[in-house]
């Protein structure tokens, strides 16, 4: 070793964003094995693993297709595809944010004994969530084939949509997982809330049924835009609108900044709380 690594553990100001990023890169191996561990646990028995991941969305798809397509008689072509194109990114968001809190609690003992960048758990759950989201696009494509829904080259834009959605999710995860170290009731409260929040975005219903006077408020929900930029390429076969892209990116940036600020303020006290 030519240069001696020097590490200064000083009171006061939390780590800078640059330091944390550098630290994450230095722990690339750990990040990789955390993600691999998440994925192998899920996909260990490979076929069954993919099936399990898709079981919830497929079940929900059947129920919602029955209720909204047959009972409510929404005039939506290929309702299954319409629904899944937003439900899949939605469960990515809801499962990842919950998983980040679980991961923090589970890996708390590690943080108490080895110096690792404390944001690594929020980052690794987001990365494995993205991987799951990408994998779940395969069954979706099969359903589209069966239903005869057109598949446009606009889906090539999806990686960009996933990055924006992933950034937003990481920001929210940082905030929630930091708070959950301090407060035991955060996770339960959030889980209950996130279940209801799903109905505030047009995942199962068309935006057209929302009365004019409520539209303004519905559009305040960041998920409306973040999910739309995923649905557009898959269901409508078109690129997202510039306005949706801009609003999504601003929300993602805002979530990242606030998540980082909360994390930085709280992370020094994790040791005493875990």
């Amino acid at each position: 070793m030519s240069t001696i690594p020097e590490f200064c553990n000083a009171a006061g100001s939390g780590a800078s964003l640059l330091d944390e990023a550098r630290d994450l890169l230095a722990h690339e191996h750990l990040l990789r094995s955390l993600v691999m561990r998440d994925l192998t646990v899920r996909y260990k028995r490979s076929v069954l693993g993919v099936f399990w991941t898709m079981l919830n969305p497929l079940l929900m798809m059947l129920i919602f297709t029955l209720v909204f397509s047959a009972f409510f008689r929404f005039q939506i072509k290929h309702f299954e595809v319409y629904f899944l194109s937003e439900y899949l990114p939605w469960i990515f968001f809801s499962q990842t944010t919950v998983a980040s809190m679980v991961s923090m609690a589970w890996n708390g003992p590690l943080m108490k004994r080895v110096r690792i960048p404390k944001s690594i758990f929020a980052v690794s759950t987001t990365l494995s969530g993205i991987a799951n989201l990408a994998i779940s696009c395969i069954p979706l494509a099969i359903i589209m084939l069966i239903k005869g829904a057109p598949l446009s080259s606009a889906v090539l834009f999806l990686p960009v949509s996933f990055v924006i959605l992933g950034a937003f999710t990481l920001g929210v995860s940082l905030t929630l997982s930091s708070l959950s170290v301090y407060f035991a009731d955060i996770k339960e409260t959030y889980q209950a809330a996130v279940f209801g929040l799903m109905y505030l975005a047009p995942i199962v219903y068309p935006m057209s049924i929302v009365p004019e006077e409520y539209l303004r408020f519905v559009r305040l929900n960041p998920m409306v835009h973040l999910l739309q930029i995923v649905r557009d390429p898959i269901y409508y076969g078109r690129l997202p609108t510039l306005s949706d892209l801009m609003i999504s990116s601003v929300w993602a940036l805002a979530a990242l900044i606030s998540g980082w600020l909360v994390f930085r303020k709280l992370s020094a006290g994790f040791y005493a709380q875990l």
């Binding site: 020097e6 000083a10 094995s33 004994r113 080895v114 407060f183």
Partner: protein
């Protein structure tokens, strides 16, 4: 340049916890959200030379492990700072990063990653680690089949195989059987000879005296004595002897039925 510098390190922990958001809001409204703290370390300044083996002794709660964790970078000081020069191998509570479902070899990779080592690096040291751990064919079984002593042996073998310049050891001599303990001591000695800086926390005063160049005696988060091992250990013995006497008496008064 010193290997480790503690410069006025103070560590304060909250004495109470507010476990619920609801409670925090209520307290915030009443203006009682601030909680009392206690000092686990108070203004500790200490320099450790390159290649030195320093022992930390003191009764439970004296701040030994806290000081070790500040050096490991796990605890951020409330005041002051610690500077550590060189790659650190923290051996604080053995078997921390282990996954019960993974086998020995997979755990070696995961622990290596925790310490910032690649799979390739760990693969190169694999045979040596397995050999030193003395686990034999158990290395291919899931960790849940291991005894506590076996987990400890694996952890020690991994942490000491990662080429660190600074080694932090917390109570590792307390686990494992006599022969493993002997091998631990041997390895600590060989670290020492190869120029590693070692911080060693132990209640095993005989080992401390054998292995260390200098010893620090901590009490209630402060340094009481620092210097020659046998002298500091004697000072500790005198102080703690009187403590235990007092402690024993209070126990027997409080619970006369217990022996």
């Amino acid at each position: 340049m010193k290997a480790i510098e503690f410069d006025g390190v103070t560590v304060r922990f909250p004495a109470t916890r507010i476990p619920f958001v609801k409670e925090w809001f209520v307290r915030k409204l009443r203006g009682t959200a601030a909680v009392d703290t206690f000092a686990a370390l108070s203004d500790v300044s200490l320099d450790i030379e390159h290649g030195e083996c320093l022992g930390l002794i003191g009764s439970n709660g004296a701040g030994k492990s806290t000081l070790l964790r500040v050096a490991a970078g796990v605890i951020t000081p409330s005041a002051g700072r610690a500077v550590v020069r060189g790659a650190v191998a923290p051996l604080i509570e053995l078997g921390t990063g282990f996954d019960a479902e993974l086998d020995g070899r997979e755990n070696i990779f995961f622990n290596g990653a925790l310490l910032g080592r690649s799979q390739g690096t760990m693969r190169a040291r694999m045979d040596e680690i397995v050999e030193f751990s003395g686990l034999g064919q158990f290395i291919d079984l899931p960790l849940r089949t291991y005894s506590t002593g076996m987990v400890a042996r694996l952890a020690f073998s991994i942490a000491t195989a990662v080429d660190a310049a600074v080694v932090l050891l917390d109570e590792i001599l307390a686990v494992g059987d006599a022969s493993f303990r002997e091998r631990c001591e041997e390895r600590i000695r060989s670290f020492h000879q190869s120029g590693c800086t070692i911080l060693l926390v132990s209640h095993d005063l005989a080992s401390i005296e054998k292995l260390c160049d200098r010893v620090v005696f901590l009490e209630e988060g402060r340094i009481v004595a620092l210097g020659n091992p046998s002298e500091v250990i004697r000072a500790y013995g005198e102080r703690s002897g009187s403590y235990e006497l007092r402690h024993d008496r209070s126990v027997s008064l409080a619970a006369p039925g217990l022996t």
